[in-house]
Subunit: 209 residues, 2 copies
């Protein structure tokens, strides 16, 4: 199965859109509705879904429950994934309790920080540890994804520790690009770049009008 | 000037990469280095930059200072942009003090929440107000971008208020898709979708090996 990153990203969005639909007991969803929800065309939605080998588009649309089940199975999104957060400053500790992670199939099973002081003061139901325990805890708890919320100058060092301990994916919130081995999945969520993109588009819009 | 969103996004990343380079007093940067930093090819970097009408690629590469100046001018990234955050829960208040925003040309000039209680307790140097003051403060302080950190069921309502008050762009951290008029720039940063993408790619990687 050779899927482009764009297809995978769109399918993940479709999957995320099906969650509340299913909870709301919707039976069918049209490719039109899915296209609108994730910001693409109906054709692309149907093509992406068929690329995954999922059929079942009827006159009423896709059956919500079975579509979610099948997409989840193909991309392994049905099972709970274990993740940890490193860096428990304001952003990291906000992420530690970010309700959506839990709702959407991710379980934050540990937080790490290098400051014992911070570890003692933090209030959270999640277990927190010193950075020195990364290797042990990641292995013990079978953590697959590491979330970086450390200052940029520490990002590479922490990523190396996490990868050495066995995580398979890194989500980086610091705006320092981290180098990872080829077999590790890496994604950078850069808030400032998002704002910059908005600013640039505002300007382009204004020039066109 | 007709630029694709992908080009704009890459140029914003290049611009972000030039910031620390300039502070570090680097004189030149090669398209190879830029390509590596933002995760694309040298050809794409040079093409994107030339699409903006910026020339000046020499044997030593681009001159850092003038490249940054020119890209910033073309996409209007040199001037400080004013933004506000609505929703001062854990995530919102973490974003309120997110150092990178300030470093990178964005100024958070107000925070809003509907809970007076929360407004009284929060500790931040940024001015905070009740949601009821959105219209007045956005106009008074010429706020261009609104950042949503509210629970998903309030996202649309708050976005409508911000747009009514005159913001030109919305950055949405809730995972509820918000509908905006055509002339408003909209971007959704969905953490869970990022994690989902990583999980799916981990699985695909494992199947290939």
């Amino acid at each position: 199965m050779e899927l482009s990153d764009n297809t995978i990203e769109r399918i993940c969005k479709v999957f995320g859109y099906l969650n509340p639909l299913e909870r709301g007991a919707a039976e069918f969803v049209s490719s039109k509705e899915l296209a609108k929800a994730i910001g693409t065309t109906e054709y692309t939605v149907r093509k992406d879904i068929s690329l995954l080998g999922v059929c079942g588009y009827t006159r009423k649309g896709y059956a919500v429950k079975s579509l979610k089940e099948e997409l989840g199975r193909k991309l392994n999104l049905n099972k709970k994934r274990k993740a940890c957060i490193v860096g428990l400053g304001r952003l990291g500790s906000a992420l530690l309790d970010y309700e959506k992670f839990q709702e959407d199939g991710f379980e934050i099973v540990a937080g790490f920080d290098c400051s014992i002081n911070k570890l003692e003061r933090i209030k959270t139901p999640i277990d927190v540890f010193s950075d020195n325990d990364i290797k042990e805890i990641v292995a013990q708890r079978s953590i697959e994804v590491g979330i970086l919320a450390v200052p940029s100058q520490r990002a590479q060092d922490v990523a190396d520790k996490l990868i050495g301990a066995g995580v398979k994916g890194i989500l980086n919130f610091s705006n320092h690009k981290v180098i990872v081995p080829e077999n590790v999945i890496y994604l950078n969520l850069d808030f400032t770049n998002a704002l910059r993109f908005i600013a640039a588009k505002i300007m382009i819009n204004q020039n066109q009008n």
